[in-house]
Amino acid sequence: MQTLKIYTENKIGVLEKVTTVFTRNRVNIMTLNLRANALQELSLISVSADISQELAQKVIPQLKRIIEVADAKLKEGSKL
């Protein structure tokens, strides 16, 4: 199980754009948590999924391609 941390603008519809990337790469999400920061400008979306190293390397750049995504990375401690 890996956890991806995705930092996004806190806007309507962004979560859907993020999950679309998992859907098209056939990644089944096991847990998903979204939390806006204190100023509500950015959200941190944490996604846990059973995802191979190869696929994670494909998914992360596709997440970063979303205009509202500030960053996407594997959570420290997640092993690749």
């Binding site: 519809g13 679309t20 098209r24 750049p61 970063k64 205009i67 995504v69 500030a70």
Partner: protein
């Protein structure tokens, strides 16, 4: 009936509605042409358009899908952003194919669509569809505006996102109440040049460049793979300079075609499933591949397990998600192709590769003998597609812009048209959208009125967007439409012929008389069937002043060769 005249120009008014803000934003962006179709939820914007009609040319298409392909053709031919208007619900859902097409082929497009009033969102209101969700998967960016004061910023961001980095389609949805509402603040349009989290910076370093230069300087068998990004970046000359300095052969992807003249000694042909024999086979002999603005599409690579395993790969690419997605890059160069090529070439040594080039020539001679000679000079009574394309090429001196649809005719046009000018072959490459070419040709002619535009269309494709003949006729857009009519869905038939034991399952078409249909739309048309009549017919088409349709009856069961069957490697190409 007299058309009522509005009293004042909206720009002179101190107030401004959301709808007017859309139009003023478009004018501020320098938009000259819109392809669109009105409806209930976009009526305030169309009402504002009424006052801007002298500044912006609106073309009323006959189906919203046609608007998207016309905008694509316009964008690719002009280098500007294509703009589309459509209403909510079915108007917006009809855009989906064109949006997906533009996303796959990196075409800059901004679609402004209406939406029901914000108070009705989520109520299954008349002509409400959840376009935010639907478009998320087929756009580079989409956004819903519910506040008139947001219009200008959303539009500015839309144009920036559409044209920057790897270009793509954007949808801006404006609710009807936001279109009607007066802005609370004065209208102010500030073009966007950067966004907080969206990066279009180059990611290459001096070390990357030097590594690439070292590989190329030491290469014995280098090969350039030129893709869509070459034309988008305007890097044709820079690529040619690199190729000539290092005497490196250039192969083009489908979208890379025409970035180099097909008569150039370093041009070695088209890559991919129905490309040329030599560049496909020799991809697996090259020691260094310089991939420029191409994304190793499966139609180019064939079986990846056997693709260029021997080669070092230098990949010039503007989209970080494309690097290492399919083929691992030994040297990734992230950024604009023009900027990178201009920095790379000075680091390269003047070189020559006569033996390597000779290998291309030898394989090309095999293709000439086994494929092209028979295709171009057939012993058949009926015309073949290649000989039709050859006549077109001769009569246009290879200088037309060819807009091809999807199927056998697309491959034949790509293979046999002698491209002499840049930006001369546009087609739906990634999504493979049948019906693309007719509206795209109308858009291309609008965007590049000085170019000769010839749409090459199959009989199946033609009937998917045939209604755009009415648009072409209404606006007297002088495009030439060449239907290669074999009464079959030719490419599907070819596959059934070769890989499904000849079991022809629903590929035979009993077509209407396209010549008469065209005339009924008010477009001159001619049917041609005999070889001796072909040159005269093509000449008549090209010399006609307005739009013209040439219905060319071709061999019913002709197959496109060479061919890389599914699962085969690039060096497993079949010549027959």
């Amino acid at each position: 009936m007299a058309v009522p005249q509005k009293a004042a120009s909206p720009t002179a008014k101190s107030t401004c509605t959301g709808a007017e803000a859309v139009m003023r934003s478009l004018v501020a962006e320098g938009v000259e042409t819109i392809f669109g179709y009105p409806g209930g939820a976009i009526m305030p914007i169309y009402d504002a358009l009424y006052d801007f009609n002298h500044k912006v040319n609106h073309i009323l298409v006959r189906h919203e899908q046609g608007a998207t392909h016309a905008a694509e053709g316009y964008a690719r031919a002009s280098g500007k952003v294509g703009v589309v208007f459509a209403t909510s619900g079915p108007g917006a859902t009809n855009l989906i194919t064109g949006l997906a097409d533009a996303l796959m082929d990196s075409v800059p497009m901004v679609c402004v669509v209406g939406q029901v009033s914000s108070g009705l969102l989520g109520t299954d209101a008349f002509q409400e569809a959840n376009i935010m969700s639907v478009c998320a998967a087929v756009t580079k960016w989409n956004y819903q505006v519910t506040d008139a004061d947001e219009v200008a910023d959303a539009m500015a961001k839309a144009f920036y996102v559409a044209r920057s980095g790897k270009p793509g389609p954007v949808v801006i949805e404006v609710t009807k109440d936001a279109q009607f509402a007066e802005l609370k603040k004065p209208f102010r349009y500030t073009p966007v040049t950067q966004l907080p989290y969206y990066r279009t910076d180059s990611g290459f370093t001096r070390k990357n460049l030097q590594d690439a230069a070292t590989l190329l300087n030491e290469a014995q068998r280098p090969l350039i793979l030129a893709g869509n990004g070459v034309g988008i970046a305007g890097a044709e000359t820079a690529l040619l300079q690199l190729a000539e300095k290092t005497e490196t052969p250039v192969a083009c992807t489908l979208h890379g075609l025409s970035c180099i003249s097909t008569s150039h000694t370093l041009y070695v042909g088209m890559l991919g499933m129905h490309g040329n024999y030599a560049p496909n086979l020799l991809t697996n002999q090259a020691d260094v591949l310089l991939a420029v603005g191409m994304r190793f599409d499966d139609r180019v690579t064939g079986n990846l397990n056997f693709y260029a395993k021997q080669a070092k790969v230098i990949h010039i690419e503007i989209d970080p998600s494309e690097l290492n997605k399919i083929v691992k890059a030994d040297v990734p160069l992230l950024g604009d192709a023009l900027a990178i090529l201009e920095e790379l070439t000075p680091l390269l040594n003047t070189n020559s590769h006569p033996m390597w080039l000779n290998e291309f020539a030898k394989l090309d001679a095999q293709e000439e003998e086994k494929v092209r000679r028979n295709a171009l000079y057939p012993n058949k009574e009926k015309l073949t597609m290649p000989e039709v394309i050859q006549v077109l090429g001769e009569q246009t001196s290879g200088e037309a812009m060819v807009i091809a649809d999807v199927g056998q005719h697309q491959m034949m046009a790509a293979r046999y048209y002698p491209f002499r000018k840049r930006k001369s072959y546009f087609t739906s490459g990634g999504l493979g959208t049948m019906g693309f070419a007719l509206p795209a040709a109308l858009g291309a002619k609008t965007g590049a009125p000085d170019r000769e535009i010839v749409a090459v269309i199959g009989d199946g494709c033609f009937q998917m967007t045939i209604q755009e003949l009415a648009t072409i006729a209404q606006y007297k857009v002088p495009v030439k439409v060449m239907v290669l009519n074999n009464n079959f869905l030719g490419m599907v038939r070819q596959w059934q012929n070769m890989f499904f034991d000849g079991r022809y399952s629903f590929v035979k078409m009993e077509n209407p008389d396209f010549t008469e249909i065209s005339k009924a739309f008010g477009i001159q048309a001619l049917r041609v069937e005999k070889r001796e009549d072909l040159p005269g017919a093509v000449q008549q088409m090209l010399q006609s002043e307005g739009p013209f349709l040439l219905n060319v009856l071709v061999e019913n069961e002709e197959n496109v060769f060479p061919m890389m069957p599914t699962g085969a490697a690039v060096d497993g190409m079949l010549l027959e």
